[in-house]
Homo-oligomer: 343 residues x 2
Amino acid sequence: MMCPTPLVARDKILLGHGSGGKLSADLIESIFLPAFHNPVLARLDDQGVVTINGAKLAVTTDSFVVKPLFFRGGDIGSLAVHGTVNDLAMGGAQPLFLTVAFILEEGLPMDTLRRVVDSLAGAARAAGVQIITGDTKVVEKGSGDGIFINTTGIGLVPEGVELSASAARPGDCVILSGSIGEHGMAILSEREGLEFETALESDSAALDTLVATMLAADGRIHTLRDPTRGGVSSSLNEIARQSGVGIEIEESAIPVRDPVRGACELLGLDPLYVANEGKLIAMVDAAAADAVLAAMRSHPLGRDACAIGSVTAAHPGLVTMRTLLGPSRIVDMLAGDQLPRIC
Amino acid sequence: MMCPTPLVARDKILLGHGSGGKLSADLIESIFLPAFHNPVLARLDDQGVVTINGAKLAVTTDSFVVKPLFFRGGDIGSLAVHGTVNDLAMGGAQPLFLTVAFILEEGLPMDTLRRVVDSLAGAARAAGVQIITGDTKVVEKGSGDGIFINTTGIGLVPEGVELSASAARPGDCVILSGSIGEHGMAILSEREGLEFETALESDSAALDTLVATMLAADGRIHTLRDPTRGGVSSSLNEIARQSGVGIEIEESAIPVRDPVRGACELLGLDPLYVANEGKLIAMVDAAAADAVLAAMRSHPLGRDACAIGSVTAAHPGLVTMRTLLGPSRIVDMLAGDQLPRIC
């Protein structure tokens, strides 16, 4: 039942190795962890947490290769800030500093770079993070694709905060901060030139103030994760696996806006596997759930927050969902490369 | 005299924008600094230095796009560790942690990735740095070039250490840790399929223990810089400009090994502009120069260390060199893209 993944040939990198699903997990387990093994990395959280001279720091890195560079609701510059700020926030850290490294393709219009840099700078200012060092490399035309950006973030974890994907406990309430699938479908519709009646817009946003609001309301939050690549289903599977718990969710409780639902139906996609860039999943002690939910709903980025299920001691490592039609089904991690290059 | 750079059209990114020379400086001054402005970044050192909860941390980021991936003396994996460890070391910091982010091209042989990851892990172990978090993205075949790696490093700056490219002072002795041009010429000969009688080998190495040895010998070191992209000439120009001093060097004092000299002559290159990955330049109080030099020569990576010139109050911002033939000439920053993708 623990998904031995019978996938295609393993001797070459596939697009799916960057999807955040099974193949990504494979790569981490078979190549990166054995080579780099250490206890910080082995936690497999979205951020490494280390203590330097008594300061507990969260550190996270992400490269952004989103295509197209500009999309409704954001661009690669703002995304590069939000993605990294959010990975810090999911560790409960206050984001402080970013590094920014560009890989540019020869021939890139200078105006495009300027727009991206201005957007990145604006998003950093809005999130209150300073860009403290950077790097630029240029590759020949045809050896890159316009702009790739790496951002690495450093944040300070407050005293007493210990969030981890390994920390979910049976009895926890599973909370989702809002409707899902908007980032992935916005990118996809832009890329494929699809026009829908209602425009799809990315939910890309910095979640650090939402997290601070939640932690201030009640500290009994065990796990936070932003369901980006691989969507809600992959994040829940990671938590179930790393915490050694089962997770049961209700399909009817998961908010999906009409344009996303429509586009997903048209394209044969399941919104549970589509990326978000401004949403989070929280595993919260049941006794704290009401207070945390109320605090989330008081924040603009958590207005539609809702409980979508619970953590169980039954079937550890598995995520199940009671469907709209009644019966439960297993919700697996994303397999393959449903939506490459969405971040 | 301050080099108003009358360069080619400015509306597109050129390979030279990644060269570490004039065009790179241009891009930083015209696009990045105005957008991201803050005091940490404005120092324009190879590392940002920030204080968190009393701990003084150096942070640096670099993307590696070297071509080919494997070369005599190293590969993109070991280089990604050495480059970032050295940028920390140039701030006098003890390197502690690295983040590693891969951008892989679809179709990359898994064995190639494995070799690079193993080399990267080995170099990190040797340098005593832990890899605490990572990321992997995959782009379609033709949208990347095998493997790009970003490493971001965090180090601890010891009490009392204040190195900066802005801190060189008239009267300082200019020290070079060894012979120059080996990394760039090794890459170039590999890339162009050139065969020389004596094999050219990259000098790629982690310089943190050499720096620690130097600082232990005498703390009166003002500036350290590793002359990578753009070579010794570009690093000296950056220091001259940022410190507002003149620098005078002696061509006869600069060690260049025969195979590098031969290859440079054949290809019409000046070793002063060729990249190094295991060398450093130090601006040292004249009273401390002998002690620092002796300490360097006791270290395997500083055996050939030598004084190559001095810092002067005359002609601030300019680097001049007394040539082998007698007269002095101005040594400018690298213009254009002599050697793209050497790191």
